[in-house]
């Protein structure tokens, strides 16, 4: 008998099956994922998701009998006094009942519940979304190069010598060639010394010869041969420039109630999740503003509290300053998403508009404005009204209204879907 411990075997043996299954039901899962987000906080997204799929969509057909049709005989255990000829009422009046009574062999499945991993969930969640106009027109053909390790080579500059590899080869070569150890030579020399002391002619002669042979062999097998040398090798690989920075602008003035701020924050969380997931190179700058604007870190942005008046232009000026300082327009793809309840001081409006039109929009690849509001049907806000003209003229300026959490994902999807980008591109071309 053999006992074999298989516990160390790779566990994910069914991974291939799982992937095939996920691929198969992708459209259903996608629908379910979108449904799930409606009832969930964005912060809860980072966890595995239970997804229900209609069992019909994943059933495997085969030939079987229609249940409840035709005549059947069967033997049952546990008779409590029925006599031949007795009648037993069927459970729920007549054939083809609700199915709740359950068929003898079926599992009675209506919904198939499936647990997605976080990765799979996010994949589905952000499927077919993309950061619009990622490559800068001017930089489209430009690439940067980077050096990456690419194994070892047998020649190269001395400073690239890889000692570990070199010594490994040297050692294996010396083992193969049976290099006599120094200790062996030392032992021989000691014996020779002894023999000399004892004046044993023959022994001296024999040992001298042996020493000579050993020394000759040691010389032949060099400690380090040129064939042992190994150098680190590098390759330069070119990669397209995808340097991008995303500006998140949020109004935190008094008119933005906690609920509205919460809406805006949810939108940004989604955006943040999306960006950090898809673009390693994307930097994100958080700016919040009241009558003055400040750049804050991620945590303060999402969780900090602040109130005051509203001067939208302050945020734009801050963004402009940061771009000038850290993100030269020639080298960076710049994106901006502004969230606000639409309020602005009237006297600030002209400056806001001119800033946007003259400086901000020209340097942006894409500018999205999200208006959060309780009642979407009241007359248009100051910003919404004024931005009207921009939408018509500038294709990379988009705006959308969000009035409840359930709107966030569709709006987000609308702003960033890759389809829309393609459409606008074809329209432009």
């Amino acid at each position: 008998m053999h006992v074999i411990d298989r516990r160390q075997n790779p566990n994910a043996k069914s991974l291939g099956n799982r992937q095939r299954f996920v691929r198969r039901v992708k459209s259903h899962i996608r629908k379910a994922v979108k449904e799930a987000i409606r009832h969930r906080k964005v912060a809860d997204l980072e966890g595995s998701e239970k997804i229900s799929i209609n069992a019909n969509d994943v059933s495997e057909p085969n030939f079987n009998f229609e249940s409840g049709v035709g005549n059947r005989n069967y033997v049952l255990p546990g008779n409590r006094g029925y006599q031949r000829g007795d009648r037993i009422r069927k459970p729920s009046g007549g054939a083809g009942g609700s199915g709740a009574s359950g068929s003898p062999d079926g599992d009675g499945e209506d919904m198939f519940v499936f647990l997605l991993t976080r990765e799979e969930f996010m994949d589905m969640f952000f499927d077919d979304l993309e950061l619009p106009n990622l490559a800068k027109r001017k930089l489209k053909s430009m690439t940067t190069t980077s050096r990456v390790r690419a194994g070892y080579s047998v020649d190269g500059a001395p400073q690239r010598l890889n000692l570990r590899e070199t010594m490994r080869h040297s050692l294996s070569r010396r083992i193969a060639l049976r290099r006599p150890k120094t200790s062996e030579l030392d032992a021989l020399l000691a014996e020779l010394e002894q023999a000399k002391e004892q004046d044993d002619e023959e022994e001296i002669k024999r040992l001298t010869e042996l020493v000579a042979v050993t020394q000759r062999r040691m010389k032949r097998v060099s400690y380090l041969d040129t064939v042992d040398l190994r150098y680190n090798r590098f390759e330069t690989r070119s990669k397209p420039t995808t340097q991008a920075v995303m500006f998140c602008l949020m109004d935190t003035s008094a008119s933005m109630t906690e609920d509205l701020k919460d809406l805006a924050k949810r939108f940004y969380m989604l955006l943040h999740l999306f960006l950090t997931r898809y673009y390693q190179a994307v930097e994100i700058v958080f700016i919040r503003h009241t009558y003055t604007a400040t750049e804050v870190d991620e945590h303060t942005f999402f969780y900090g509290r602040e109130t005051g008046g509203t001067v939208v232009s302050s945020a734009l000026i801050e963004m402009e300053r940061i771009v000038k300082e850290r993100y030269p327009v020639e080298d960076w793809n710049i994106y901006a998403a502004q969230a606000s309840d639409g309020h602005n001081f009237d006297h600030d409006m002209p400056q806001t508009m001119s800033l946007l039109e003259k400086s901000i929009l020209p340097m942006c690849q894409y500018y999205a404005y999200i208006e959060v509001g309780d009642e979407p049907l009241t007359s248009d806000s100051v910003l919404w009204k004024n931005y009207e003209s921009l939408v018509a003229r500038i294709s990379h300026f988009q705006r959308a209204k969000v009035s409840e959490p359930a709107d966030i994902y569709p709006v987000f999807h609308k702003l960033f879907s890759s389809d829309k980008r393609q459409q606008s591109q074809t329209a432009a071309g």
Binding site: M1, H2, V3, I4, D5, R6, R7, N9, N11, K13, S14, G16, N17, R18, Q19, R20, F21, V22, R23, R24, V58, E60, P61, N62, F63, N64, F65, E66, S67, G68, V69, G70, N71, R72, N73, Y74, V75, L76, P77, G78, N79, R80, Y82, Q83, R84, G85, D86, R87, I88, R89, K90, G93, G94, A95, P104, D105, F112, V113, F114, L115
Partner: protein, 510 residues
Amino acid sequence: MTGTNLIYRGSEWDFESLHRAHEAIEEIALGELGLDVYPNQIEVITSEQMLDAYAAIGMPLMYHHWSFGKHFAREELLYRKGARALAYELVINSNPCVSYVMEENTMTMQALVIAHAAFGHNHFFKNNHLFRQWTRADRVLDDLAYAKHYISDCEQRYGLQAVESILDAAHALMGYGVSRYAPKRAATTKDRIAKAESRRQHEQSTYNDLWRTLPNKGKTAATGNEELDNGVANSLSLPEENVLAFLANHAPKLKDWQREILHIVRRMAQYFYPQRQTKMMNEGCATYVHYQIMNRLYDAGRIEEGSMLEFLHMHSAVVTQPRFDDRRFSGMNPYAIGFAMMRDIARICEDPSDEDRQWFPEFAGNGQAMATLRDAWSEYRDESFILQFLSPRLIRDMHLFAVGDESGLPYLAVEAIHDESGYREVRQRLAEQYDMLKHEPEIEVTEADLTGNRRLVLTHRVRGGRLLSKNDCNRTLCHIANLWGYRVRLVEVDSQTGKTLNDYDVVAMP
């Protein structure tokens, strides 16, 4: 009890105690019970690996298919929710016989699994005539490895989608992939691989596109057409119950690799065929064997009282048969009735009543319980076993009764109970219940036109008014049509009157 003789103490297991337990159990199984088994290989796995094995219909090596992913997801969810416990064991009909034990099991469970699977099932696999006839234990693992390799190769070559649709179709027909006559002993897997490869190479090297334009000889000879058709029908040897094999061999449009995949699935269906026919006996045999062994181990002072209690607790949970009106009732429990029948046979051998002598004159009171059982295990399948060995006493003990369920009537009619006039009827009915032929739609390929409109016709012989479920039937037929490549018809014909009850017609997707 001295305690020095114990195989293990407490509930923790280690590899040493596994070995000791196997040794002690082997002694009893071979020496006292006279079992004859394949060499054992016991593999320790984790619960996740057990789920894996479940999902791949109990096979250690399996090709990839989405349905296994689906099963895994379901099993995993049920397991995590605690709605379902994992089986303690899984055993594969192979030589050596592979039994899986889970690391979470207690030592008593491991001993139980070794007794149950590594000796009970193992003996059954090696000796039952169906298994001997239908499966080649020494080749199973090779076959599976070949299937896995071949299918992943096809996925590489022809794309996941193409392979998946063939497998979907093949799985839908798995119930109709069995030839009920003993199979010919085919060449070994290695030979088959070599053969398939050489065939492929030959085709590749001799392929000449020009040949396509040659006129078809058969069509020009219009006069001999009818004879030709007859000849074709004969060569197809219709009717054919093995739909999968028929399609694999004759579907006009299939590529060679697609045929091979159908054959792979067909062979698998064939492999499971004996298991489905002997479920009750097999479990009964294994349960009886583990019960005997554990009791003898305890009597010999080789396991503690606590372990014995743990064992009895598990054992009785396994062999519980809820009454038909119990909420937990879900049909006859094969463990319960199997175990009860084995004990009953042993009782009849050792201590028969007059009634038993009258019913079972061949072995009542022969004093050879184990020999009688071994004989039964090797020579019968569920249906014939019940027909031969179910005793009036057991029918009374289990309060078995037969009912008729006619659709349209609001009640079940009690047709026979456990009394003098009912024993034979109940026994006959229960045996029928285990006869797979009577519980699956009887569908055959009855017509195949290879030269004209190329229509394929299947016939379902309807018994007792039991018609096919429409939705599933249509979906399955679509699979068949896609394999066949042309229109497929299925006729439901009443087996008594010959009247056509239903007619399905499905066209292949372009």
